[in-house]
Symmetry: C2
Subunit: 357 residues, 2 copies
């Protein structure tokens, strides 16, 4: 078991990584504990939940991440007579974590809460950093607050019931954490990618911990995302546009977005081409997509529409080397020519050759 601490404005958050779900430390005793989870997690793990005054279950999928769902949670908390001494434990993926945080931050102007993230993505991202919220009229995370959970317990054993594609999605975000801030973690991933894909507990405990440290360090510097926290968006600017136009899962879109941002970094003379090759090679080993969509025009249109309020410039997180980012304002017009002007990388040529055989 490894632990890490985030210092929030409204109290500290203790992150525990490893085993531990069957012996939740930090969970207060008493009669005012409640669990928020989804039907899927309840079915898989409900029998192992700690004894609480009530379990509230919600559906799965992005469509449940609404104010309506939060209203339903308020209603259940009232029916269960949850008062200001109540403690809410969210057990589930990123959606459960985001909703649990928001419901806890706003019910009776804030009750105590903690999170048990059950997906790799939630363990290294959604559950860390105190962001919570719901979508509104199709806008992602339009309504929410910043509030740190009292603790986060990331039990690696949960990952065994995840579909492989979801594990790889989480690994894409993990690569992102290494690329933006931790070259040693990147090297470890290069050496241990097979063990990571196989969810080897020791390797995963180290990787989840290192990824948490990257995110938590950024959050400690910049809880409400005005400067430093922006580097966590590496690969996400184009990634979101890919997600929107092609519908591929978030992690896969981020993989493509990281390649685009890395190529852009090389094209602007910021990043040595060898670093781009290493990033591309690792993503390919982790069975993540690295090819930009053939219709780059459509992608950039989506990006333009998404960012129209910032005008013609887009703030991009770029790389100087593996482990070091730089933020630059790039004119949208320049994006297409820079990305398309790059010769295909050795790794992607190799990959294409391999996929032909």
């Amino acid at each position: 078991m490894k632990t890490y601490r985030i210092l929030g404005k409204n109290g500290d958050s203790i992150i525990q990584i490893g085993a531990g779900f069957d012996n939740l430390s930090g969970f207060p005793g008493g009669t005012k504990n409640f669990i928020l989870t989804d039907h899927n997690i309840d079915r898989l793990y409900g029998r192992r939940f700690p004894q609480v005054a009530g379990v509230i279950t919600i559906g799965t999928g992005e469509a449940v991440k609404t104010l309506e769902t939060v209203r339903g949670i308020y209603e259940k908390l009232i029916a269960l007579e949850a008062d200001r001494s109540a403690f809410l434990l969210g057990i589930g993926g990123g959606i459960v974590c985001d909703i649990a945080g928001f419901a806890a931050a706003t019910y009776l102007r804030g009750i105590r809460f903690a999170l048990v993230p059950t997906t790799l993505l939630a363990q290294i991202d959604a559950a860390i950093g105190g962001k919570n919220g719901v979508n509104f009229h199709g806008f992602k995370n339009m309504v929410g607050t910043f509030r740190q959970p009292e603790f986060v317990l990331s039990d690696i054993a949960f990952l065994k019931t995840l579909p492989g594609r979801e594990v790889r999605s989480g690994l894409a975000e993990m690569v992102k954490h290494a690329v933006i801030a931790d070259p040693a973690m990147f090297s470890f991933l290069e050496k241990n990618w097979r063990a990571a894909l196989a969810l080897d507990p020791e390797v995963m405990e180290k990787l989840v911990h290192d990824a948490v440290v990257v995110k938590a360090d950024v959050v400690n510097l910049d809880e409400t995302e005005t400067g430093e926290r922006r580097k966590l968006n590496f690969g996400h600017t184009l990634g979101h546009a890919v997600e929107k136009t092609t519908g591929v899962p978030h992690g896969e879109a981020v993989s493509i977005g990281m390649i685009a941002a890395s190529r852009l970094s090389v094209g602007l003379g910021l990043l040595p081409p060898a670093d781009l090759e290493r990033i591309e090679a690792l993503l390919i080993k982790l069975e993540l997509p690295v090819r930009l969509p053939s219709n780059l025009e459509k992608l950039l249109q989506a990006l333009k529409k998404d960012k129209k309020r910032e005008g013609e410039m887009i703030r991009f997180v770029l790389l100087k080397r593996i482990g070091e980012t730089v933020i630059e304002e790039i004119p949208i017009e320049k994006l297409q020519s820079t990305i398309e002007g790059l010769p295909p990388s050795r790794e992607s040529l190799k990959n294409r050759a391999e996929s032909r055989t």
Copy 2:
């Protein structure tokens, strides 16, 4: 113009008391400012609002204080293209202040905001201290957060358009602030009650300032109401029950509640009877009701129902003298006998005699 500062966990709040609405200092320049107000204030003062990118108006009355209204505000902010750099200025009574704070605290995980309270009650209570929120299924302030406005501007001139009964309601809360923490302010009220009722600008500026200081000092010690902040509930435990069972306005119910709590304090040997007489005399001069409802039984039933989760004991804010409170757990059973067992006070006998002539 007097100013005062509250030190919130998420930033400081500057309270400005006096004139100043026509020359809002602290309001940022730029094109991303929005106003939230109600139809009534918009009609009376809309022409004097500062130039902003959009004015959002809501209805009046407790019935609008719901999540539905907040949803409507989110929709308008989105339509007005309010982004993270937006600044929301709430101009209105306690309801507008509570809703503006909650909408600003949750839109895009929090945008900047400030308040211009236009009622006496809001100037000394709702706008001060960072509590915000809405009602939910009939439960008051069930959903909300704690977040300090960047500034509060309390312009005494707004009070001139208030109905007299609403002014007196505000004066009841003002007496409460003096009674729980500021004996000099209480003496000032005893000497200047006529000027206060007439809304004399100089007297009111001093009184609003002193009342703000009482509340702000408590908030600075205890932002999220776990200990010290509780003394602000003086007169409110029974006051809420009076409000509920008789439907009298909040301030009048608090006046009655303060008398009940003061009598209880005398009955328990905590408060010298002379202090009770002074409190009663001042409230009578301010044309506030001081007689307990004849049906005490019904009142205590309402209280019991309201507080059922705390069991048979009620935590009461009591007085040791004017300016000093003490919190005691009182068995509900003991309440009725203690309050009824007290002889009617001299002041209330005098009052009864006067009302007979």
